[in-house]
């Protein structure tokens, strides 16, 4: 038994008296003036939203980002690791970036591995807020000595990798999040890329940086404030037990380490849930050629992992004389099957093009697929056609460069399809392109897409687990009703994981009680699973309130017309569409929202969002 004392209801023994529940401590930088200052938030905020995504959502609503122009100087970038970041918890070297998305207009957070979050936490801060805009290209340097805005004219225009390399020369041992030419040019799906090739990929947060003329956010080496852990012995025990589960589960110990996420190509294709040619079909005849097995056999140099992760799903690959990161499953799908392309070399090269420029591969591929369908429909003379592998590579490069058709594609598929008179051919929700799961073959995934707070996204909740992989258990994937509770639980849990911050892949093996035990050991206070899920519900509700205040509502909780009206033509999902309205009704009732999707006053009160405590008063946000 270690020396120490019992604390609260916590049944372990804390070995330090470090005040872990102090007010969240942040840095705020105004790029317009170059001024920076430290600040603190009410202590209750830490318990209410944890950190990471939750803290971002809370700040975004408090700062009324729903009222600002996403690419204007008033928009903020909120960067925040979580309470598990850097503690030794499995796969927890992560952080979130939150802003108002220029692509969707919603609150939008991206969560990334790498080491940026760990380095930032070592400076002793919980979050960084970046506002304003620079007069000239600049980068932000955060170090133990303070914050500096430095000129970046010599970096402006550089691709992602050389930008990172140059910054490492300037600041040895640093970690940086950078934008590439796509972010500089305002591509609405530009990403922020960290060392180790990990990205804040979706929603165009790289364009927000670009609009601020901010090339990079650099955290210098030298931070010496190791994140406090109240009960290291207990944490080691829980981590050991958690790693046992990760190593025993074939998804986290075999499939992901051996194939990466691309293992899903054949899995989804066999299930008839692989969207093909802009969701015209749900099985791709060329799937085997672009599968995880093909990638492993012909392209992978070595596997890699985010900091502190034993799963190691990332891949270093080579193709056409070039080497780089990925592609992930969603990238293979978007640049491959969704465009009708079975040439894996071209898919890998298109992925590299996106990585070089700093662009979201899902939106890029889906927007090209949209252009291909417009061409097939005779609405885009001379445009690309399904199956044209060279066109996919060429258009990815043209989009980054702002050339030709690429300049139009840079706005994403929703604006592009609307411009050409066929908005329904954008396979997006809230203007965010859907990822690689056809909800006609996984009905609850359709509800997950429709209700996602950041648009068509599989990371808010992915029903792949219960509907395809049997995690936690297999459910009838074609059943329409009865799965809202399961989905809500997953949405709430994922909000927690993004706020802790810990990789969602751990949830293939771990349940919420493990996350509660990890956090309990770090904080030295008893945190129950139900408390965590309540926090997740609070974060989800904050995001919902932001979107309602931004003018979104039930009408935006929908799917592309094709998925609602066009039955799958062949394969295991043949004949199916998504019958969304009854699913949405069940979901709203289960959430405790009105038929229009507005949280009730009683719900806000139960979540502490009615303004009576230190949390933001949201009671008027939805009205």
């Amino acid at each position: 038994m270690p020396a120490g004392r019992r604390r609260g209801r916590y049944t372990g023994v804390v070995s330090s008296t470090t005040p872990l529940f102090g007010p969240p401590r942040g840095l705020r930088v105004d790029l317009s003036s170059g001024a920076s200052r430290e600040e603190e938030l009410p202590a209750e905020v830490r318990l209410a939203v944890l950190g990471g995504r939750g803290l971002g959502a809370w700040l975004a609503l408090r700062e009324r980002l729903h009222e600002v122009e996403p690419l204007g100087p008033e928009n903020l970038l909120i960067l925040a690791p979580g309470p598990l970041t850097g503690t030794g918890a499995p796969a927890s070297g992560r952080y979130s970036v939150t802003s108002r998305s220029p692509l969707t207009g919603t609150v939008f957070d991206g969560n990334s591995g790498g080491s940026w979050g760990v380095f930032f936490r070592r400076l002793g801060y919980d979050y960084l807020v970046v506002g304003g805009a620079c007069d000239a290209p600049s980068y932000l340097l955060v170090s133990p000595g303070g914050v500096e805005v430095r000129p970046a004219s010599d970096l402006w225009g550089l691709d992602v990798a050389p930008s990172l390399a140059r910054l490492r020369e300037l600041h040895p041992g640093c970690e940086a999040g950078v934008i590439g030419p796509a972010g500089e040019r305002g591509v609405l799906f530009a990403s922020i890329v960290n060392n180790r090739g990990r990205s804040i990929g979706r929603g165009g947060l790289g364009a927000v940086m670009g609009a601020k003329r901010l090339k990079a956010i650099v955290v210098a080496a030298g931070g010496d404030q190791k994140p406090a852990v109240a009960d290291p012995e207990r944490l080691a025990f829980v981590v050991y037990e958690a790693e046992k589960l990760l190593k025993a589960n074939p998804i986290t110990s075999q499939a992901l380490p051996e194939f990466g996420t691309s293992v899903l190509v054949n899995v989804l294709n066999q299930a008839g849930a692989m969207p093909t040619r802009n969701f015209r079909d749900s099985r791709f005849e060329g799937a085997r050629a672009i599968s995880g097995e093909a990638l492993r056999d012909g392209y992978v140099q070595r596997r890699s992992a985010c900091r502190g992760c034993s799963i190691g799903c990332a891949r270093r690959t080579t193709a056409g004389g070039e080497s780089g990161e990925g592609p992930e499953y969603e990238s293979i799908w978007a640049l491959g099957a969704d465009c009708g392309v079975a040439d894996l070399t071209a898919v890998v090269q298109a992925n590299y093009a996106c990585n070089r420029a700093g662009m979201d591969t899902i939106t890029m591929g889906s927007t090209i697929a949209c252009a291909m369908e417009l061409t097939e429909e005779g609405l885009l003379p001379g445009g690309p056609r399904f199956g044209d592998a060279a066109a996919v590579v060429r258009l990815a490069e043209a989009t980054a460069a702002g050339e030709g058709l690429g300049a139009e594609l840079a706005e994403g598929s929703a604006r592009f399809a609307a411009r050409h008179g066929r908005p329904e051919l954008s396979m997006s929700v809230k203007s965010l392109e859907l990822p690689a799961y056809d909800p006609r073959g996984m009905k609850a995934q359709g509800l997950a897409f429709a209700t996602s707070n950041r648009g068509g996204c599989h990371l808010r909740a992915n029903m792949l687990g219960p509907e395809i992989l049997g995690v936690p258990k297999m459910v009838d994937r074609f059943a329409t009703l009865g799965k809202a509770g399961l989905l809500i639980n997953m949405q709430n849990l994922n909000a927690v994981l993004d706020s802790l911050s810990i990789c969602k892949f751990t949830a293939f093996a771990m349940k919420e009680d493990y996350y509660a035990r990890l956090l309990s050991a770090v904080w030295g206070e008893q945190v129950e699973p139900q408390e965590l899920l309540r926090i997740g519900e609070r974060i989800w509700t904050l995001e919902r309130l932001f979107n309602l205040a931004a003018g979104l509502g039930r009408d935006d909780d929908t799917l592309p017309r094709r998925l609602l009206e066009e039955p799958v033509r062949e394969g295991p999902a043949a004949g199916h569409v998504v019958d969304l309205p009854p699913m949405l009704d069940e979901y709203y009732v289960s959430r405790g929202w009105s038929a229009e999707g507005v949280p009730s006053a009683a719900k806000l009160a139960r979540l502490g969002l009615d303004g009576r405590g230190a949390l933001v008063d949201c009671s008027g946000a939805a009205s």
């Binding site: 025990f237 025993a248 936690p472 639980n489 349940k511 919420e512 405790g592």
Partner: protein, 202 residues
């Protein structure tokens, strides 16, 4: 109620009986759907469930259907209100009940039980069936553990799906059979698990 959900009730109920985890009319199950609860009918046979045997009533507020609901509805409601559970399985497995009569917590020694349960608290109540006493006792334990044993009566297991709660129940009974046999051999058990001395603090 969707056909898929009824099929889950029927499939799990049949397996619970076949596995010897309940007697002919024993045990009960429920699923939470938002502010509603679907629970087996009072006196129903889990091995032979029909649609009429799954009762739809309020989670917090009563309606007429409560007259048909399982005796244990008060406990199920209390659990749902206090935990993240979406499904509950309550059974009467003989080896687990026997272990609960001699222990304050059940710490499995087999590999499967260790991985999935670590330890199972045993809670004692004077009124063990459908009582507000149990409804007051169990939820606070189920906030931290997915399965809790009510002494002399049986376990309450929670999960997101009925199948999850069933699995925990089945694992508990198997672990208790192994414990009973192993302890009955009278020899000191050889430890093979790193960190198992901390399981009682799980």
């Amino acid at each position: 109620m969707s056909g898929d959900l009824l099929e889950q009730f029927r499939r799990i109920g049949r397996d619970l009986f076949v596995a010897g985890l309940v007697s002919s009319h024993g045990g009960n199950m429920s699923v939470r759907q938002g502010d509603r609860i679907l629970i087996t009918r009072r006196g129903s046979m889990l091995a032979q469930l029909e649609e009429r045997d799954v009762i739809d009533t309020g989670l917090e507020e009563n309606d007429a259907n409560v007259t048909l609901a399982s005796t244990e509805i008060v406990v199920h409601r209390a659990i749902y209100q206090a935990t993240s559970a979406l499904a509950i399985v309550h059974t009467h497995p003989p080896y687990a009940i026997a272990q609960s009569l001699v222990k304050d917590e059940i710490v499995p020694v087999d590999s499967e039980g260790s991985y999935l349960l670590h330890k199972v608290p045993v809670v004692a109540a004077q009124l063990t069936a459908g009582s507000t006493e149990v409804a007051g006792l169990l939820p606070k334990w189920l906030k931290e553990y997915d399965l809790v044993m009510l002494r002399g009566h049986g376990p309450f297991a929670i999960g997101h799906l009925l199948e999850e709660a069933y699995q925990l129940t089945s694992v508990l009974e198997m672990a208790c059979r192994i414990l009973t046999v192993a302890e009955g051999m009278g020899a000191e058990l050889k430890e093979y698990r790193k960190g198992s001395e901390q399981y009682d603090s799980w």
